[in-house]
């Protein structure tokens, strides 16, 4: 909402200066968003005379004009208007002026080789009309040459952000009323209008009793024999200051009243109304051409103003071309009505129409301002356009009774923390337009009809503290006390997983929860996409079903920037359905490139599956799972290389699925066209990590080191090629856990000297007993046992 101070002061008697007013506005919740001197900039547009207009030497359609603004000096201006001619009085914009229509700042420029000092303006360029045919022609302004064309040059405009609960402040009077409650000034009462209303209304108006009827009150006045014309300067400059285009006196007056009192009005050309006005629900498919020159096809149940033959306007939203007022219009019907916010909102959303009237009606217009609006507008029309006014006709609800709230004064202190006296409360409310009656400790507060936002006590508390000032509330320091844990188990895992991955060289990223369906498909499944109905762009059209989708997109971007060895991770939601809660937190990481690239000391090598497996295993251990409970298998899913990937489950193959790890499927790498194709990924599913019901300190065994000598034995088994070494190690470990402390594979060999379909596996076993040093005999015994059991369970033979 834009206001100017002089306009504000028509409603508010105040001695406060601009800064005081601005500060007060912000303090009471009418936040000043900006102050503009754009009217001052319009000051630069001067009334000027073309002394001479000559053909441009290098262009047929251009002229070079010698322009005078009164002094001795003249300016050369290149102009393309057909009507530029000797002696024409028009408007000159010098370099530095900002053209209102284009917001373009003029600079000295050469046009086809001739320097032009500014430009001559058309009406359209100044936002005065849509006329862009030629430059403005000003008759009888010879005496005003050199003066600014726009009169109100000193006015500043103040842009106030009005919250949706305050429709009353969408009119300048409402803002003045709010300011008056701060003690900064007094609200000036309305002057009584002595309207001459000589005859009865000619046109019958009726509101049908339709199911969705959105119109509660329809007030109108018939004004005949007017002469519609351009508005007087005072009115034009008021509208211009708010950024509105003056059109004609009748239209300008309706706009003026809307911004002045927050009372939208509409004027119909009465001669083009077919017999009568009917306010009814629209029929399905009915068509209507609106003042924005668009044709709308209506749906059933929209509130329309119609006559016998067709729709004239969408009530409270926009009028139609059929009955629009023109300069030639002689008789008008002036409408002042009340429409239900819900009806306005439904219709305007359906048809995507935004107008100043719609904006106001959907927030709530004072239903009791119908007559006031007619009075003020009719008075202005008679004064400016002449004519005779009828008596007002009010159809529908005549008057809405104000609501009364019983307000317990104590409720203020119990919510806000500081008391307020009954007299202070009464004073504030009175100035805001609320009538109060004392009732012991309480107030009976009558809510004015322009405040639809006030429905219960708490709303009054807000009014009181808003005006009294938040700065008066005493601060109560918080107690440093904690009764519940700050984070639950899953939240702790979330935070820990971030630190864990980052400590392994991964950069944490945060990416959108939505992604490109084409990429998401690669990592998830073809079907069951979760589409966003109104995506921000076509490549962010689905919720991600894999944590890899966005990571892959961004990994590629980094590779394209020349960063090939990149490790990224994100801990965030992935979705498996469109219903609330059909999501889970996944830790996802991608790692590309080489280890030891360009190193003087390390041998360069590709990242491999054991790098990513290591990161997955170490992270899970850091998340609290014991090494022995990690069950590794080659179960994988389609986005991974089928031979170089696997799963980690809890305790057994059938246990909760903790993670996948492995090389990203080469087909995906190819499809996404990665520069560095060596890419590995891991996914950890936090929801599957079991919460231990005991603290580590409760489950930890006592520390019992053996004081006896540790021995080592190496074994080389020849075993089936497909036999899993993880299982082989497990078999050996389980042979005698009291003696076998550790089992490590240190070599795997296939090829020469090993039968086809077999491999040789070298395993080191650490042996230590609790009660004695193992002698040769003991060691031979256990070695034999290992060899026998391994042979028995796996078919492996010892390599000789």
């Amino acid at each position: 909402m834009i206001i100017t101070l002089p306009w504000l002061k028509e409603h508010l008697k105040t001695k406060a200066n601009e800064n005081e007013i601005i500060e007060k506005l912000t303090n009471i919740g009418l936040e000043v968003e900006g102050i503009k001197e754009n009217v001052g900039e319009l000051d630069k547009f001067k009334i000027a005379k073309i002394i001479k207009a000559e053909k441009h030497p290098n262009a047929d359609k251009l002229k070079v004009c010698e322009v005078s603004i009164g002094g001795k000096e003249t300016f050369k201006v290149v102009c393309g208007a057909p009507n530029a001619r000797d002696g024409l009085i028009t408007i000159y914009a010098p370099p530095g002026a900002v053209i209102p229509k284009t917001k373009f700042e003029l600079k000295i420029a050469k046009i086809r080789g001739v320097e032009s000092l500014g430009m001559l303006c058309s009406e359209s360029e100044l936002n005065l009309s849509n006329d862009s045919e030629g430059i403005i022609e000003l008759n009888n302004k010879e005496k005003e040459i050199g003066k600014s064309y726009f009169k109100s040059k000193t006015e500043k405009t103040i842009d106030i952000s009005i919250t949706p609960n305050r429709p009353d402040c969408l009119g300048i009077r409402g803002i003045a009323r709010d300011l008056s409650s701060t003690g900064i000034g007094k609200l000036i009462p309305f002057k009584k209008k002595n309207l001459k209303q000589t005859f009865k209304h000619y046109i019958k108006t009726s509101i049908t009793k339709d199911k969705h009827q959105g119109c509660l009150t329809f007030g109108s006045c018939y004004i005949k024999n007017i002469i519609n014309k351009e508005s007087p300067d005072w009115l034009k400059s008021k509208l211009l200051a708010l950024g509105l285009k003056p059109i004609s006196a009748v239209v300008d007056i309706t706009n003026y009243v809307m911004f002045d009192l927050n009372r939208p009005l509409h004027a119909y050309d009465a001669d083009r109304i077919d017999k009568e006005i009917i306010i009814r629900d629209s029929k399905d498919g009915e068509e209507f051409e609106a003042l924005d020159n668009k044709k709308y096809k209506l749906k059933k149940g929209m509130c329309v103003i119609a006559d016998k033959s067709s729709v004239l306007g969408l009530g409270g939203i926009i009028g139609g071309t059929k009955t629009s007022t023109e300069f030639e219009t002689k008789n008008i019907l002036l409408e002042s009505a009340y429409f239900l916010p819900s009806s306005i909102r439904r219709t305007s959303r359906e048809l995507s129409i935004e107008t100043d009237a719609k904006y106001r009606f959907e927030r709530g217009i004072d239903p009791n301002s119908v007559i006031k609006g007619l009075e003020i507008a009719t008075d202005l029309i008679l004064k400016i356009c002449g004519g005779q006014a009828s008596k007002f006709t009010i159809t529908g609800k005549n008057f809405q009774k104000n609501k009364i709230i019983k307000f317990e004064l104590e409720s203020f202190e119990s919510l806000i923390g500081i008391p307020i006296s009954i007299s202070e409360a009464q004073k504030i409310l009175n100035q805001l337009g609320f009538n109060c009656k004392k009732n012991k400790k309480n107030l009976l507060v009558e809510i004015p009809s322009w405040r639809p936002d006030i429905v219960q006590s708490v709303d009054l508390i807000e009014e009181l503290i808003r005006i009294k000032g938040f700065k008066n509330i005493k601060l109560i320091s918080p107690e440093r006390k904690r009764e519940n844990e700050t984070l639950n188990f899953k939240q702790k895992l979330f935070h820990l997983s971030q630190r864990s991955l980052a400590s392994k060289g991964y950069l944490e990223t945060v990416t959108w929860s939505f992604t490109d369906s084409k990429i998401d498909k690669q990592f998830s499944k073809e079907e069951n996409e979760i589409k966003i109905i109104n995506p921000i762009s076509s490549d962010l059209d689905v919720l991600r079903r894999s944590i890899f989708s966005n990571l892959a997109i961004h990994l590629k971007k980094n590779q394209d920037r020349g960063y090939e060895d990149v490790s990224l991770f994100e801990t965030g939601p992935v979705f498996f359905g469109k219903n609330p809660g059909e999501q889970q937190i996944v830790v996802g990481a991608l790692k590309s490139g080489k280890v030891g690239r360009k190193s003087w000391i390390e041998k360069e090598r590709n990242i491999d599956v054991f790098d990513i497996k290591g990161d997955a295993v170490k992270t899970l251990i850091e998340l609290g799972i014991s090494d022995q409970d990690l069950f590794i298998s080659d179960i994988t899913k389609h986005c991974y290389h089928p031979g170089r990937s696997g799963s980690i489950t809890y305790k057994s193959e059938k246990g909760p699925h903790l993670a996948y790890f492995g090389e990203i499927h080469p087909a995906i790498i190819k499809k996404l066209d990665f520069k560095e194709p060596n890419i590995y990924g891991l996914e950890i599913f936090l929801k599957n990590i079991p919460e231990q019901n005991k603290k580590i300190r409760q489950t930890k065994k006592s520390f019992q080191p053996s004081d006896f000598q540790k021995s080592q034995r190496d074994f080389a088994f020849v075993i089936d090629k497909i036999f899993k070494i993880g299982l082989l190690e497990k078999i050996i470990k389980e042979i005698d856990s009291s003696i076998i402390q550790d089992v490590t594979t240190f070599d795997v060999y296939e090829g020469e000297n090993i039968p086809k379909g077999k491999k040789s596996v070298a395993i080191n076993v650490s042996l230590q007993a609790k009660n004695k040093t193992l002698n040769e005999k003991d060691l031979d015994q256990i070695s034999k046992k290992i060899i026998d059991i391994v042979k028995d369970k796996t078919g492996a033979t010892i390599r000789s």
Partner: protein
């Protein structure tokens, strides 16, 4: 001069010229070997008179110890010389680079969420969460924003269904509803989380992070709200004083509602939070609307309290001098390395929030 003194002086003459371990071994043999000079002397002991023997033995032992010490000393010296000789040839250029490694980092949003959690943990708030996909009811209606309420226009909402029943939450406030419906008062929670609006330009991203706060109990007033926010802002920006102003505003789910501005100034092109003559809007807050409490099955006659909401990304930008919101989500290796945090820098109350 006795034999022993003679041996001693011969030894002293020889030991000085010893340069290698070999020489030393020769001397050892010469004096302490089977037929060494000292060994021989010990053999004479038995043939001596008992009274002389004692004196001689004591002297002999003294000489023996003395010589042994000298041999050991010499051995040590020779070893040292040998080690030093060897080390001379083992010099490497330690200015060569270390083995390549990758430095992982924590994203600023995560770091700031950890900082915020640590601050609110001190005054007893717990962290609550809710789903990113929400019902229209939880996101709007339950929060006192019925369907035809113009406040809905302020949120450009992503929808998952044409009938607009399912959406991506536009704020973290629906977690208020979920938390209250699933528990019993009092409630004292913060909710950091992802939020979505279909709006994208230099200062808006279609996804951003919000922090919601909710404290419902008996007798919680706006004074508590003020105290809580004053505490938080000081702790978060790690300053002693903060100029703070509450400006009346409107949110459908709080009444009264306020926006909070903090003072700042620009010094050497950097923003200094807390003092100065400029105001920066930092959060919205208010007393939870009785309609919201009713919708969440909490009796507004018995319970009341405050709620607040703020942008986590914006807090991170202000605290750490990050200019561009969009860059948070672009995963640029260079940006993440530059603005990211060391994984060991876990914000804590005893070690400080930030380095």
């Amino acid at each position: 001069m006795s034999d022993l003194d003679k041996i001693n002086s011969i030894f002293n003459a020889k030991i000085d010229s010893v340069k290698t371990k070999e020489d030393l071994q020769n001397i050892k043999t010469e004096f302490f070997g089977k037929n060494g000079e000292i060994t021989k002397q010990f053999k004479t002991l038995s043939s001596l008179d008992p009274d002389k023997r004692k004196e001689f033995a004591s002297y002999l032992n003294k000489i023996k110890d003395d010589l042994t010490n000298q041999i050991n000393q010499k051995d040590f010296e020779i070893s040292n010389v040998e080690i030093n000789e060897k080390l001379k040839n083992e010099k490497v250029d330690v200015t060569l680079p270390i083995r390549p490694y990758q430095q992982g980092k924590i994203h600023p949003v995560s770091q700031v969420i950890d900082e915020i959690s640590s601050i609110f943990s001190e005054i007893g708030f717990s962290v609550a969460e809710g789903p990113d996909v929400e019902t229209e009811y939880n996101n709007f209606t339950a929060l006192n924003t019925p369907e035809d309420h113009p406040a809905r226009d302020m949120h450009d909402t992503f929808y998952l269904e044409k009938n607009k029943k399912l959406l991506l939450r536009t704020h973290t406030s629906p977690v208020q509803i979920r938390t209250m419906l699933n528990g019993k008062p009092p409630f004292k929670i913060i909710v950091p989380g992802r939020t979505y609006r279909c709006d994208s330009d230099q200062t808006h991203a279609p996804m951003f992070h919000q922090l919601e706060g909710l404290h419902i109990d008996k007798n919680i007033t706006m004074g508590h709200l003020k105290g809580c926010l004053d505490y938080f802002i000081k702790e978060f920006f790690e300053v002693k004083n903060v100029k703070m102003r509450f400006r009346p505003s409107h949110f459908p789910f709080t009444e009264p509602s306020a926006e909070v501005d903090i003072g700042y100034r620009i010094e050497n092109e950097k923003i200094v939070i807390g003092e100065g003559d400029k105001w920066l809007e930092i959060l919205g807050c208010g007393m939870v609307h009785p309609n919201v409490l009713k919708n969440a099955k909490v009796d507004p006659k018995k319970y009341q309290g405050f709620a607040f909401g703020m942008g986590i990304d914006r807090l991170a930008m202000l605290k750490y001098g990050i200019n561009d919101l969009r860059a948070f989500f672009e995963t640029d290796f260079r940006w993440l390395s530059h603005f990211g945090f060391d994984p060991l820098d876990v914000p804590t109350n005893y070690r400080g929030l930030s380095k």
